[in-house]
């Protein structure tokens, strides 16, 4: 079974702090994703990485950055946390596929971040 773990289930940070959310997968998947989930808005893609050191912006990248130095680890960084970044953050992975195909994503349990 694919295992996707996230560094924290719950996190409370203050406005202006730098926040690191970490995601680790054990299935050697090429693709990794960061989403945020908010009531009434569903899941929105923040960033996507298809290989080590490679990243693509998703729909809402503003205020976030990512890092992928190793294949199994994908970090989401909030450079200066703000209250509107209070949300549930979900990491997902997917195996390599040829372009034009689709894939199944495997999600972690999520990190509920509160910025005060």
């Amino acid at each position: 079974d694919v295992k996707v773990t996230q560094s924290s289930r719950y996190l409370v940070k203050r406005t202006g702090e730098k926040v690191f959310l970490e995601c680790v997968q054990d299935m050697d998947h090429e693709n990794m994703f960061w989403y945020r989930q908010d009531p009434g808005l569903g899941l929105r893609l923040i960033y996507f990485s298809y290989d080590v050191k490679m990243k693509e912006k998703g729909d809402i990248p503003e205020g976030y950055s990512v890092s992928r130095e190793k294949k199994e680890r994908f970090s989401l960084i909030l450079e200066s946390a703000s209250t509107n970044q209070t949300s549930m953050y979900l990491c997902a992975t997917a195996p390599f596929l040829l372009a034009g195909g689709s894939y199944e994503q495997y999600f972690g349990p999520g990190t509920r971040l509160t910025v005060t």
Binding site: N31, G40, L41, G42
Partner: protein, 112 residues
């Protein structure tokens, strides 16, 4: 990006068949349709995926009409444990980019 629209919520009794429809009027030629299930305090879990016509697995069926502008997830004989939020996802993998659109989800409540 293809925008998806789903009902906000649905109610069902245990043992009934439940059909949840997702509209995706501007779906692209190469987009796939995928459904996920999410329980509280958990990440979404893959249910089923299709491109056209009908797909069936051990837990659900997916019906996609010829114009592909909508899709229907069918859950046979639901139980209380099927109470969850169901998401419709339309998109495709392009090699170096991920073109994905999640719907806002349908909250299914199953009661006795």
């Amino acid at each position: 990006l293809a925008k998806t629209t789903q009902p906000i919520s649905m109610d069902s009794y245990e043992g009934q068949e439940v059909n949840i429809t997702c509209s995706h009027n501007n779906i692209a030629t190469n987009d796939y349709i995928t459904w996920y299930q999410q329980f509280p305090s958990q990440g979404p879990r893959f249910i089923i995926q299709g491109y056209k016509t009908k797909v069936k697995n051990e837990v659900a069926s997916l019906f996609i009409p010829a114009d592909r502008k909508s899709s229907t997830l069918s859950l046979p004989r639901v139980s209380l444990s099927d109470t969850a939020v169901y998401y419709c996802l339309v998109g495709r993998y392009t090699g170096t980019a991920s073109k994905l659109t999640f719907g806002t989800g349908t909250r299914l409540q199953v009661t006795l």
